[in-house]
Symmetry: C2
Subunit: 310 residues, 2 copies
């Protein structure tokens, strides 16, 4: 946890909270949506009992709570899942994200009112998101007329079709999780290094999956075999595997990036990798900070709830 | 280990040995290639030091060793890998399997001479096999004129192009390993049961991957989402996931099964699953016992080595 001591004496006007599977981030905000402080904790949803959420949030917020009256905490992420603090039922697409459906969570302290932003769901094909809807809302707050696809890469990448201020549809690709499972747990681990990179091998992998997407599952073992037969190095193998998996993700989302604008929302290294992969595919994408998107989206949700201009 | 005590007093003429990653099987054979006894052990290659192989094999073979002279043990599988007993370098395709390249391993006991069958390799695309080459040789010993594909399903499925008595080319698909990783370790584990089956969901999964093979990686998360949104049951999810992965394997090997005979080599349940998947694809395959193929292939290797008719 970073320091949450309040040396300014200024109370927060509200709190923005991103409560994911493995992390908790709290921003104490002033009345003009400026960040007074940002507090990290590793108390993510994983392994937390429902009654542990309120004490954890209160402990972090305490130095910034007002001496009288109450303030709001607007929370996005897995805290709103069925296994979280309290379930905030999904909104079904097409829908404007972070615009309705917030669920009150009881903090047991009248100084702090907690509100959880709901995730989004799609019936056919079945899909869900929790947390990304806030990043999407945050991006749309800054780019209200956007019409195209938002790509949010990660453990479970999302490709989000946005039009008319709404999420029209989306798809989840288990890119990061599959990369970790294959590279660290499968037989390929004997050939794949835990870190390191080789840009040419990455591009080779992307191209291979884009050229023959139907052979993706049958092309993975070659990474092990090249390690045995052709001394493929561990860093090269790691980059090739990453390229093959991201290439398969791009092949599956070809209709998204082939004729509409794409913006990749995330942080530095991952954005660069996706931009490089899209370049191999003959496309391009702008970048937008994932942290900025989250905070902006929580602002949007807060002001929607208060009925104040965002 | 099953009993290896020799109650007949008859010595073995030779030993057939299948030494895989997680198991060891030894057949004591008579001079007419009849099985005197079969001995199992869990002393597979995984975790065994090179100097542990000889004592393990001798302990199992001891009751069947001759009182004078020496006999051969013909060994296939991972015991011949770089991490095994002694490396038996791969033979490069195209090649007749189990026909050359056997490597002597020192048992330290002059009554038993151990010979390890080499695996096969392919330079482009890079691929390797160890153990399956003996099953292929065993099938060809019974069906010498076979021209088509042999499918050996499993943790690492092999699709083997056979013509003119030789393995012309082959490809490994990490089907079983990917099924286990996704079903037991990934986020899908929350939706996928550890056992159970649903034939209609299996066929649905096969069809989905055959129809849209380029969307395979983007279709997996729906199993989790349907569990959350539509109460997809654990057994249905398990069968669907299996169908999707085997369907992706079939989509990748379409050129194999679409216009040439296919024989699936393996054991009961797995063969049935692959035959059902091929039926969904509008194809068909004959079945051949994996155990019979292994033993027959070790016979072929033994007689090749001795210069006697197989």
């Amino acid at each position: 946890m970073s320091k949450s001591a309040n040396e300014t004496g200024q109370a927060a006007a509200w709190f923005a909270v991103d409560w994911g599977t493995s992390h908790l981030r709290v921003w104490a905000m002033d009345a003009e949506d400026r960040v007074l402080t940002q507090i990290h904790s590793d108390k993510g949803m994983a392994g937390m009992a429902p009654d542990a959420y309120a004490p954890e949030l209160l402990a972090l917020a305490e130095p910034w709570l007002p001496s009288s009256g109450s303030v709001d905490a607007v929370i996005c992420g897995m805290a709103g899942s069925r296994q979280g603090w309290i379930e905030a039922p999904y909104l079904e697409v097409p829908v404007a994200p972070s615009s309705s459906g917030m669920v009150r969570a009881e903090t047991g302290d009248q100084r702090l009112k907690a509100q959880i932003v709901p995730g989004l769901c799609q019936k056919t094909p079945a899909d869900v998101m929790r947390g990304e809807e806030t990043q999407i809302a945050g991006y749309l707050r800054k780019n209200p007329g956007f019409d195209g696809y938002l790509c949010l890469p990660g453990t479970h990448s999302k490709w989000v079709n946005v039009s008319g201020g709404k999420v029209q549809s989306f798809v989840t690709v288990m890119t990061g999780e599959i990369f970790a499972l294959l590279g660290k747990t499968s037989v390929l681990r004997h050939s794949v290094a835990e870190s390191g990179w080789n840009e040419a091998e990455f591009e080779k992998g992307v191209r291979q999956s884009l050229d023959q997407p139907d052979r993706f599952i049958a092309s993975l073992f070659a990474i092990r075999a090249e390690g045995l037969l052709a001394n493929l190095g561990g860093e090269a193998a790691r980059a090739r595997l990453s390229g093959m998996i991201i290439g398969a993700e791009l092949a599956a989302s070809r209709s998204a990036w082939s004729d509409r604008p794409v913006v990749v929302i995330g942080e530095g290294a991952l954005i660069s990798i996706y931009q490089a992969a899209l370049t191999v595919a003959g496309a391009s994408a702008e970048a937008f900070s994932g942290d900025e998107a989250t905070l902006s989206g929580l602002c949007a949700a807060y002001h929607f709830m208060k009925g104040t201009p965002s």
